[in-house]
């Protein structure tokens, strides 16, 4: 396994940039949880608490022109790739002005034209899709592009994951595939999901490069992902990254996660990456507690004022929707009565 040691160290600027995105994602998700409890959200809420360090680290080394296909728990990565508090809240609160116009919601949002892919729920499906996108970039003569996508431990059991990673390996595509190994797929523990010694071993079977990281540790995440993204960009083929961590929330906000093993919660894997990152900032004297508190306040201010704004925005009006699933409007079929 390549060691992140050869990498130049993480700078304070890099670390703080990532930390502030994590913080904003955390504050935003805390707000989403309270809006959910207040019945303000249309549909479900699925949060990424505890996964911010890994998620932000996937997207931070990406550039404009790259591809990012986030999954359920990637609020931080989404924001590092350019998603905003405004678009997030517009989607969750069902504003007509959001990128999905009320047609799809929550974690399914995206802007594919900007390389920010909109996941379908069917887990694993984004792996071959990103591989295909990278194949297209190659066919178009674009070089130096990277495509990153994330999934959970559970999603490594899908056919799409296996087929997609294998196909990407055959084509030696610049795919960075990141597994957030949060120990559970909904209620299902890893012991009922796979029996390989470690998920990282799957890389051997596909002949792709492997990277393992303690995903509670922001610095390690930044180093590992920076290295993986660079390796993909420089022609090293698919990079398989496994980050070990614990889901610090329910599967969704409807779920109390009573099934999570208390031993995991009190183990190092159960630590909160955001708190650890803050401790590191303080320990290294990159900022004071007053400053980190001010950053949080700033994030809260942005989130709260955006909620106020979005709540006044109209929802989609069924009369105005063209109800068209085809780009070619001549293909609209008119079913009497519908």
């Amino acid at each position: 396994m390549p060691t992140p040691k050869e990498e130049p160290p993480v700078t304070s600027a890099e670390f703080i940039k990532a930390y502030r995105v994590m913080l904003l994602a955390r504050v935003l998700e805390e707000k989403l949880a309270s809006l959910y409890r207040g019945g303000m959200i249309k549909g479900g809420v699925f949060l990424g608490r505890g996964q911010e360090a890994l998620s932000v680290s996937v997207a931070q080394p990406l550039r404009k022109g790259d591809i990012f296909a986030p999954l359920i728990r990637d609020q931080a990565g989404r924001m590092a790739f350019g998603d905003t508090v405004l678009d997030t809240l517009r989607t969750y609160l069902g504003s007509q002005l959001g990128p999905m116009k009320g047609r799809d919601g929550n974690i399914h949002r995206g802007r594919p034209r900007e390389g920010y892919y909109a996941m379908i729920s069917h887990l694993g499906a984004m792996v071959p899709a990103v591989a295909g996108a990278l194949l297209a970039r190659r066919l178009k003569g674009e070089t130096g592009i990277v495509g990153a996508t994330c999934l959970g431990d559970g999603a490594t059991s899908t056919g799409a994951f296996h087929e997609g990673l294998n196909a990407a390996a055959v084509e030696k595509l610049p795919l960075v595939l990141v597994v957030a190994n949060n120990q559970y797929a909904y209620s299902t523990p890893n012991s009922r999901q796979f029996v390989c010694r470690d998920l990282i071993d799957k890389a051997i079977g596909y002949g792709v490069a492997a990277h393992k990281v303690d995903a509670t540790d922001l610095e390690q995440c930044l180093l590992t992902l920076r290295k993986a993204v660079r390796a993909a960009r420089e022609g090293g083929g698919p990079q398989f990254v496994v980050g070990d961590l614990l889901r610090l929330v329910g599967h969704g906000e409807h779920d109390d996660a009573h099934y999570v093993d208390p031993a995991l919660k009190s183990a190092p894997i159960g630590r909160d990456c955001l708190l650890l990152a803050e401790e590191q900032i303080i320990a290294k004297a990159w900022a004071t507690r007053t400053e980190t508190a001010a950053w949080r306040q700033e994030a809260e201010g942005e989130v709260n004022s955006t909620v106020d704004k979005v709540r006044r925005e109209p929802g989609p009006n069924p009369e105005d929707d063209d109800w068209m699933a085809y780009s070619k409007s001549e293909f609209a079929e008119h079913y009497a009565g519908a």
Partner: protein, 322 residues
């Protein structure tokens, strides 16, 4: 007995199937100790040790394993977490389970439970109605229970049946539909039910749309029009006798289905009525389906996307020329 929900009826049917038949086992994501995403197998893992267990996140394997187990004489009930995810196991359902008996003479007694249909905020991937899709394939029995009683008795029938059953249980009915007790007997598999008697027009429907249709019929009754409603119960096989008998009485037909219009259950019923009972019709038969787009996420779009009581009432008025 306190009142039983549609969801609890499904749980009780699974419990009874496990208790009555040692060949039955439950397999699916989170169905074990957690009791399933909707709690349709709550406590069953404890009650039937070793016979209710969690599957990896692998629909293709879940259904493929059920097929293999069925060949070996077991009666697996597998749960898809949502009907929509059954597409990841589609190959095993339509190419393996559905063809087995025809190819080999060996039946494939699996039950695939599909938590189906739309609920507010469900969106494109947690809302689909897939009964017409599966009904297209020869060899599959497709059940769409619309009542608590049917949810219970049809699931038991599904387990007893030698052919593979796609069991489309409607999530919209899970919690709010209640019954005081569960039936001891039931209509045979493949028989539809006259859910409401009427004389002016026939509505043929199934699943959650039954309740929208009943509400529409009640609305029209206040204007003095009586709609007859047929609840198909199974969409394959399709009970055309009861449909044709009803159309013979009313001369007017409206088919209401929550799935998409093209090639849907409504389309099939209308095709059969026009070819087998054209002379019974006084006016052109009509249908009402979901709109021909993915199921939208926003509740305001969703409530217009699928047929509702008021849309059915409006379509009925047009059919009756009022």
């Amino acid at each position: 007995m306190s009142s039983i929900t549609y969801l609890e009826a499904i749980r009780l049917a699974q419990e009874k199937a496990l208790a009555d038949d040692p060949r039955v086992f439950l397999y699916g994501q989170d169905v074990g100790n957690f009791g399933g995403a909707f709690k349709a197998s709550k406590n069953l893992a404890k009650e039937f040790p070793g016979r209710v267990f969690d599957a990896p996140l692998s629909e293709d394997a879940i259904i493929g394993m059920a097929v293999g187990a069925a060949i070996e004489g077991m009666r697996p009930i597998v749960e898809m977490q949502f009907a929509d995810f059954s597409t990841c196991g589609f190959n095993q359902i339509v190419n393996h389970a559905a063809t087995l008996y025809y190819r080999t003479g060996v039946p494939c007694p699996i039950v695939v439970r599909l938590p189906s249909g739309g609920t507010s905020g469900g969106g494109p991937f947690h809302s689909q109605s897939m009964e017409a899709l599966y009904a297209h394939y020869p060899g599959l029995v497709v059940m769409t229970p619309a009542t608590v009683e049917d949810a219970y008795s049809m699931l038991l029938e599904a387990v007893a049946l030698d052919d593979p059953v796609i069991f489309c249980e409607h999530k919209f009915l899970y919690y709010h539909l209640k019954a005081e007790e569960l039936p001891e007997t039931a209509l045979p598999v493949g028989k539809a039910r006259l859910a409401r008697a009427g004389r002016d027009a026939t509505i043929v429907t199934h699943g959650a749309m039954l309740h929208e249709a009943i509400a529409a019929a009640n609305e029209l009754a206040t204007d003095g029009y009586e709609l007859e409603i047929v609840d198909l119960r199974t969409v394959k096989p399709l009970d055309m006798d009861i449909v044709l008998a009803s159309v013979a009485r009313t001369g007017r037909l409206l088919c209401v289905s929550e799935e998409w219009p093209w090639g849907g259950v409504a389309a099939e019923v209308i095709a059969r009525v026009t070819s087998e009972g054209f002379g019974l019709l006084d006016v052109a038969p009509q249908r009402l389906n979901a709109k021909d787009t993915p199921v939208p996420y926003h509740p305001d779009l969703w409530s217009v996307h699928r047929p509702t009581a008021s849309a059915i009432a409006e379509a009925s008025r047009r059919l009756l020329n009022i």
